[in-house]
């Protein structure tokens, strides 16, 4: 097995709304021999709020985590697309702009000039573990799942800092799923926006965008959407229709994390628990596809 070691930055969502993402990520890493050391005393990356509020703050918040990572020395692994984006952009800016680096350093009282790599788990899966190895790990090929990959914005944009093979038509997640035996349906809305943090302030906008994604996914013949971002999944699961009760499900199409699918394919314990925790219940699909029993 691989000799992969990372400083792990869990991010807030993975212990809250996207607990199943955090847990499944840690489980698959362990199963694949990826050694994770949680970043001590990590703090929020600032997500979308900080960089809409104060530019220095939006760099200083991840800067604090980068400073901690610098002390540990290892490359950093991130699973949330927003955390990944903030960490990468902040790192690039700190390393490129000494004046900003000094300002951040003064604000956080530590050296944020982390020169190691900040990686997303999907990047590590596709490019370090490799699809051939993943295929070997699959005990339960996920036949019967017809998925559309959903990258959203922050895995691919801005293209200068992101890992995906193309900004307009990335295929990393597609190839990952194919390795698990999932049938990947062609669709053109992989990188369309879900509305992100407008979820709370402009729910109407998010609902419109989310509805379009489901409609297009249905047209593509998919029976599930697979994502790698807790914000995207939250919006897709919770913002389907206007109305007071956003939890009313109109598109019964499950939205899943790529790590959950890998755990399922590797038959790791816990897969059922994570899947059951979704707002849009994936169990009927799993049963229908004979991937799980009732």
């Amino acid at each position: 097995m691989s000799e992969l070691r990372f400083t792990y930055y869990p991010g807030c969502s993975q212990s809250g709304s996207a607990e199943e993402y955090g847990d499944s990520s840690e489980a698959v890493c362990q199963a694949l021999g990826i050694e994770l050391t949680e970043l001590p005393d990590w703090s929020c990356c600032g997500a979308s709020s900080a960089h809409m509020t104060n530019d220095v703050l939006s760099v200083a918040l991840p800067g604090r985590d980068l400073a901690a990572a610098k002390r540990l020395g290892q490359d950093v692994l991130v699973v949330c697309a927003a955390c990944y984006s903030r960490m990468k952009i902040s790192q690039e800016r700190i390393l490129a702009d000494e004046e900003l680096a000094r300002e951040v350093e003064a604000a956080i009282g530590a050296d944020p000039r982390f020169a190691g790599k900040v990686r997303h788990l999907l990047d590590v899966m596709v490019n370090d573990i490799g699809l051939a190895t993943l295929k070997e790990e699959v005990l339960l090929p996920l036949e019967g799942l017809k998925a559309v990959p959903y990258y959203g914005c922050l895995l691919v944009r801005p293209p200068e800092v992101c890992f995906c093979d193309s900004v307009e038509n990335p295929t990393d997640l597609d190839r990952f799923m194919e390795a698990l035996g999932v049938e990947v349906m062609p669709w053109s809305f992989k990188t369309d926006c879900c509305g992100g943090s407008l979820s709370l302030s402009r729910t109407d906008v998010v609902e419109k965008l989310v509805n379009k994604l489901f409609t297009r996914a249905e047209e593509a013949g998919a029976n599930c959407i697979v994502a790698a971002c807790p914000m995207c999944v939250a919006n897709l699961e919770m913002r389907q229709r206007p109305g007071k009760l956003s939890f009313k499900i109109n598109h019964p199409m499950p939205v899943l994390y790529f790590t959950e699918l890998l755990a399922l394919a590797m038959t790791l314990p816990g897969a059922r628990k994570w899947l059951e925790s979704h707002i849009i219940d994936p169990m009927p699909l799993m049963v229908q596809a004979k991937l799980m029993s009732v």
């Binding site: 669709w187 053109s188 047209e219």
Partner: protein
């Protein structure tokens, strides 16, 4: 000739059958110094091997043309006419370039291949053009007049001399690859003739996947080749060639549409590039011209074109404008609709740049009559929908709302990108900022290295006419230092004496062509041969796989000798392309070339009746019978030969006229230069700088002093053309000069009478009511001569399209956008704080002029778009100019401006004198009063009347550089006539029998070429055979039967009719 024997024998023995010999192909002629082109075999060019000449010695009378697209082809043809040997080099297996892939050409909707192919054939059959195919230029040494070019010739693996292009090898090839001719939309065998009309028309092997070349397996093509032409042992070789000048014209490469990934090219099947769509439209393309989707072959209804893919694009593409896409998208829309009425084309564009001659009218017609929808916006993205696989295009409409619209297919109008770096490095010529070959400010065909000239899209994005103009211009400049060795290296064709056939019984030889499977696959050719043998007067009949192949010509000469034939009839394809070849063959066998007749059993028979082969065979028999019956009645005809007067007449002493006169005078021809005004310079006098920053007045001064001091230029100022008589080679002109009338004899005429500035009538945009309303010309003068007067200007409004693109002047004046940008930048430089507002309709800064538009926007020049129906209103209220304009860029909101200077961008109109001069020269004008060239696409500097040429604003509005370059082209075309001792005119001309003619003048009225005159003394019509084009209109109209078209006499035509219909 001895080495041709085996090929010929093999072909004869095995016509239509497999060869007897089934042995492994062995190279008969090993690689080495073997001739590349067919014609080279005829007579080795001894002079080529002459030792390198040092400076000061006689230059080399040969020119190398690199790149065999339309530019290279035109330059080559011009050069051989001027008396030079040409080495035409192309990295492809055949010449033709991109133009050979196009379906139709704008703005005439001509079939591209139909107008190109005759030129390709002309190149292929010209003895003084030597083709180097699959060849790259790898080295250049020496200096102008004595260059030594090193060529690397890649192996073709097929012997050009033996290959007849029959296509049998392709049928047996086991590997198929994407066909570059069809823009990779179809597959084709590795061994093939690149496309049916290819020159040379021989096969080649694409070695990348050849089983034999890679692994020694297969070898089928060599075994099956009836001519034994396949040569797997062919090796790459290096050759050195000496030339006096070099012309490069290697064209461009299309922008890689994958770089604009938001449109999904390469991901979605129904998103195609414009070049691919051109092939989809083409009748010989992958879908036979049906406008269908790539995903499912279903007919396309909603069709979108997205403009500026890779052009005007600072993120993924190039910042310049590719100049041609607006027009080709419009053309493709119109043609797609012609192919299938249900197609609904939509064009997404930023600015509609239809600036060339006839373009604006074409665009308006497409928009208003043909149902093409235009949406002004840069489309944001294209996405594929499931399961329909329709394409969803996202865009912002002019109202500012975002729209998503579904289409069946999307065409990305990809731009022109440079492909010049490698060649420029080898040749040591400079590149411009965008990677194209850098060129001179005034003559755009001069590269940074003396003696190396450039034409076509290699120099910058441009369309076919502009490429053709540059091609002729580069040929003219390439000739400039080689005049002393004109005709030194060219072969003069010597024919055997003509046999007198008068009094002989007709002995017709009938040759029936299979044209590979084109005819042979439908028509029962042996049956036609047997039938022909039964006809009266037929002394011999046989078939050929390709009657046009080089070895077939030798065979025809042989049968003429062997069977003592005195007439030949070939039943094959169209005389339009192949009659000259066969006439040449017949003549070289000692027969008069008009003792040849052709029957078209391909276009008129096998192609249109492919589903009914039996009937097609019967029809082919009838067509042959008609040809044979007529052939028996053919008479030898004489061609007219007239001596060329080696003087030139240039009418118009502006920049274009001066450049043309200087070029011809420098080449040693006495040149009369006639200018109506008392001084030289024309419109150039009013221009101080080009938008690129070149000093126009300095250049003008240089031209003027050179013209005035040139011993071979006879300058007549304040002079007028009284009248012009004569014809090509022999014109006679009377000129009214201040010193009295002069009578001048000359061989050619160049019309460079220029244009005029549109003068707005008082009141138009406040003109005349306030001195602060001026024109761009007046502003430019102030900027140059009294810049201090503009220092305090704080607000300038420029108004575009004054006198252009309106009902009175429907055409675009082409230059005004560039002029406005130039002067706006000058004002900003003078006074950076000044506000400049440019009110425009479409900003037409085509090509590299886009750079200056970008710069103007960066400097804060404001651009306000208005509609033709709602132009800016200028009023002088309360003593100051005020401009109100509905700004379409902000949804038509009215903007009120209070400028202290209003500048009108007045258009270019035709010279009023053109309407007098046209009839004197017997040449036509357009409805706008500009002179009308012979063919808008391929003959942009010629008139239909031979010996008269055109340049500058007299042709159409254009920039100084374009005018002067066109002048160089016109001079080159003129030189190609002046370089000859005689001009030869057609034998097929009308003749009036003076004993029968009643003098009714009906024929004189009808003649489009002014070739018939009335002899008042005798009271009869007389045909001037030098002007006659042999159209036959007069002969058909003659009520008394006095007027006969030679070669088409009533007896000959009636014999054909009888052959087809029996005695009526």
């Amino acid at each position: 000739m001895a080495e041709k024997e085996p090929a010929k024998k093999a072909a004869k023995k095995t016509a239509g059958k497999k060869p007897a010999a089934k042995k492994k192909p062995a190279a008969k002629k090993t690689a080495g110094k073997k001739p590349t082109a067919k014609k080279q075999a005829k007579k080795p060019v001894a002079k080529k091997a002459a030792p390198a000449a040092g400076p000061g010695e006689q230059p080399v009378g040969a020119v190398m043309v690199v790149g065999g697209g339309i530019g290279g082809v035109q330059a080559s043809l011009d050069l051989v006419e001027m008396g030079y040997r040409v080495y035409l080099v192309d990295s492809s297996p055949s010449i033709g370039g991109v133009m050979g892939q196009l379906d139709k050409t704008f703005p005439t909707n001509d079939c591209s291949m139909c107008i190109l192919s005759p030129k390709l054939v002309e190149v292929g059959s010209n003895k003084n053009i030597e083709l180097y195919m699959l060849t790259d230029v790898v080295g250049l040494q020496g200096e102008p007049g004595h260059f030594e070019v090193t060529l690397r010739v890649r192996p073709r693996y097929v012997d050009l001399e033996k290959c007849t292009g029959c296509g049998i090898c392709s049928e047996h090839c086991r590997v198929k690859v994407k066909d570059p001719y069809n823009a990779d939309l179809s597959r084709t065998p590795l061994i093939r003739v690149p496309f049916p009309q290819a020159v040379p028309g021989a096969a080649f092997i694409d070695p990348t996947k050849c089983l034999y070349l890679l692994r020694g397996k297969c070898g089928d093509c060599a075994e099956e080749c009836p001519a034994g032409a396949v040569d797997y042992e062919d090796k790459e070789r290096t050759e050195k060639v000496e030339v006096g000048s070099i012309i490069v014209s290697t064209g461009y490469k299309p922008f890689d549409a994958k770089k604009r990934a938001e449109y999904g090219y390469g991901v979605y099947d129904n998103v195609v590039t414009s070049l691919e769509f051109e092939r989809i439209l083409a009748a010989n393309g992958p879908t036979s011209g049906h406008v269908v989707r790539r995903s499912d072959g279903e007919p396309v209804k909603k069709l979108a074109f997205i403009q500026c893919v890779g052009s005007r694009d600072s993120t993924a593409g190039n910042t310049y404008c590719s100049s041609v896409c607006c027009m080709y998208a419009t053309k493709q829309s119109v043609i797609a609709k012609e192919h299938a009425r249900e197609v609904q084309p939509t064009i997404f564009f930023i600015d509609m740049r239809t600036y060339g001659k006839g373009f604006e009218e074409y665009y308006q017609n497409a928009k208003n009559e043909k149902g093409v929808r235009y949406v002004r916006c840069l489309a944001s993205y294209a996405k594929e929908l499931q399961p329909t696989r329709n394409i969803l295009v996202g865009y912002t409409d002019p109202d500012g709302s975002t729209v998503e619209e579904e289409f069946d297919m999307v065409v990305l109008c990809v731009g022109i990108t440079p492909d010049a770096a490698g060649l420029a490095g080898v040749l040591g010529v400079g590149l411009n900022d965008h990677g194209f070959i850098a060129s001179d400010d005034f003559l755009s065909v001069k590269s940074s290295r003396e003696g190396v000239y450039v034409c076509g899209a290699l120099e910058g994005p441009k369309d076919i006419p502009d490429s053709v103009i540059q091609a002729s211009a580069s040929a003219g400049l390439a000739s400039s230092r080689l005049g002393v060795c004109r005709c030194e290296l060219t072969e003069h064709v010597e024919y055997p004496p003509e046999k007198d056939v008068s009094g002989e019984e007709p002995r017709v030889g009938a040759v029936i062509c299979r044209c590979g499977t084109n005819i042979g696959g439908v028509v029962d050719v042996p049956a036609v041969v047997d039938y022909a043998k039964t006809l009266p007067n037929v002394a011999f009949a046989d078939e050929r796989l390709y009657a046009c192949s080089q070895d077939a010509q030798e065979w025809i000469r042989e049968i003429i000798r062997e069977h003592d034939l005195n007439r030949v009839m070939v039943a094959s394809c169209t005389p339009r392309t192949h009659q000259p070849l066969f006439r040449e063959t017949v003549r070289s066998a000692g027969l008069n070339k008009y003792l040849f007749e052709m029957a078209n059993i391909r276009e008129h028979c096998s192609w249109v009746h492919m589903d009914i082969p039996d009937d097609a065979t019967e029809k082919a028999k009838m067509l042959c019978k008609m040809g044979i019956e007529k052939a028996a009645l053919l008479e030898p005809l004489e061609e007219g030969v007239s001596q060329v007067i080696h003087n030139a007449m240039v009418i118009g002493g502006g920049g274009a006229g001066m450049v043309a006169a200087l070029q011809l005078a420098d080449a040693g021809f006495k040149t009369y230069l006639v200018e109506r005004e008392p001084e030289l310079g024309g419109q150039m006098r009013h221009i101080y700088a080009t938008v690129e920053g070149a000093d126009v007045q300095a250049y003008l001064g240089e031209l003027e002093s050179r013209v005035k001091g040139h011993p071979d230029i006879d300058l007549m100022l304040s002079s007028d053309i009284e009248d012009v008589d004569g014809y090509i080679g022999k014109f006679h002109t009377r000129v009214r000069t201040p010193k009295g009338p002069r009578e001048l004899d000359h061989g050619v005429v160049i019309v460079a009478t220029g244009g005029a500035e549109y003068v707005p009538p008082p009141g138009e945009y406040g003109r005349g009511s306030d001195e602060r309303v001026i024109t761009q010309v007046e502003l430019e003068k102030l900027l140059a001569e009294d810049p201090g007067s503009l220092e305090d200007v704080r607000d300038v409004v420029m108004i575009q399209c004054v006198g252009s693109r309106n009902d009175e002047h429907p055409y675009c004046s082409k230059i005004c956008c560039g002029v406005a940008i130039k002067n706006a930048l000058a004002i900003k430089e003078l006074n950076p704080g000044a506000a400049v507002n440019v009110c425009y309709r479409d900003l037409r800064t085509y090509g590299f002029k886009e750079d200056y538009y970008l710069k103007a926007r960066d400097l804060g020049v404001n651009f306000i778009r208005f509609e033709k129906e709602d132009p800016p209103r200028v009023d002088i209220s309360f003593g100051d100019p005020r401009v109100r304009v509905a700004d379409q860029n902000i949804r038509g909101e009215e903007v009120v401006l209070n400028p202290d200077l209003v500048v009108l961008s007045t258009g270019v109109i035709s010279n009023p004198g053109a309407r007098e001069l046209g009839p004197k020269l017997k040449v036509p004008l357009t409805s706008d009063g500009f002179f009308l060239e012979a063919h808008v696409k391929l003959r942009p500097v010629d008139f239909a009347t031979d010996g008269i040429f055109l340049a500058g604003l007299a042709h159409y509005p254009k920039t100084i550089t374009e005018s002067l370059t066109q002048a160089a082209a016109a001079a080159a075309r003129a030189e190609s006539i002046l370089a000859k001792e005689n001009v030869v005119t057609e034998g097929v001309v009308a003749r009036v029998d003076p004993n029968v003619c009643s003098g009714c003048k009906a024929c004189i009225e009808l003649c489009s070429y002014e070739a018939i005159e009335f002899d008042a003394a005798k009271g009869v019509a007389v045909v001037n055979r030098s002007l006659c084009k042999g159209c036959g209109a007069c002969a058909a109209a003659c009520p008394s039967g006095a007027n006969r078209l030679l070669g088409f006499k009533p007896g000959q035509i009636i014999a054909q009719i009888k052959a087809a219909c029996g005695s009526l």
